[in-house]
Amino acid sequence: MALTDYKFWFIRRDDDGFITEAAVRFYEGDYDADGKYVRSKLLGKIDLKHLDKKFVKDSAGVDTKSYTQADFGSIKTDDELCTFLNSELAKDTKREPIKEQKWLL
């Protein structure tokens, strides 16, 4: 089974430090012979049908998954956001999250 992970494009916070929006890219990849995780594909809308359909376009016009407080609630820390996103990764039945993104708080 292919592996998957995510990386941030941006994280927006309000005046009180609460995260209000996060734009996230999901990838497919695998570990190389040296044990380094190597991404081979940026996953697009068609690959992310198991997630809801809220996307924003980056400056290249590529759809990037968007999340707001309606998705992750009232949180402030990156760790809390990662916990939520790790649960999003786990929804992918075709790919397995990399070990660095399997943890949940």
Binding site: D5, Y6, K7, F8, W9, F10, I11, R12, R13, D14, D15, A23, R25, Y27, K36, Y37, V38, R39, S40, K41, L42, V56, D58, S59, A60, V62, T64, D78, C82, I98, E100, Q101
Partner: protein, 231 residues
Amino acid sequence: MATVTYYPNPNVESTSVDGYAFRSYGVGLGVAWGTLVAADGTSSNDNSTTLYFFSMKSDTTSNQWRDMYRSIILFDTSAFDEADTITSAVLSVKGEAKADELATTPDLNIYSSNPASNTAVAAGDLDTLGSTAFSSAIAYSSLSTTAYNDFTLNASGLAAIDTAGISKFGTRNANRDVANSSPTWGSNQESYFYGASADTASTTSDPKLVITYTAAGAAGVPSSTLLFVGT
């Protein structure tokens, strides 16, 4: 104040790469310091988990030099609302290792970059980095190899933030590379500082640009719009 934090793309890039370019001469084929500083690159890397923020290496021949490394870090800041007002910004890079065999106490600062592509770093991008400091340099003794190194951008750095597109930055050693001031030569010695790129497996060590801003219309409510109710 509200903030928005941007990160470069890992490989496979969509909009904004991070990586490094370098010039390397063979052993015994080194050049004078000024020639090395002005030289075109010979190689690059944009999919390693490592970013060489700077590296410089001497040749085995007296007063000749072999290697010069600089990094290029781009952010897709197009999602920033151009109606908002930027009040400050901090560019941070996480260090992993450093050495100063040349005993030249190399510092680090942020500069402009202008790679040929926004999604790849090529050897020829080495000499596209600028020489106008975008922050206060961090001294060698203060460069952290376990945590983020934070550069608060000055007016020139803030002006480099492109709220409609890609903000292009890079790292250079300030006191020797940018100053074009040769270190004291010693045979086959290297001074370097490197750290994490966006190609790492986690999300906790990527380069990042934190922009603090005032949202449009958030500065206060004009008194003419206040509504008084009751007596």
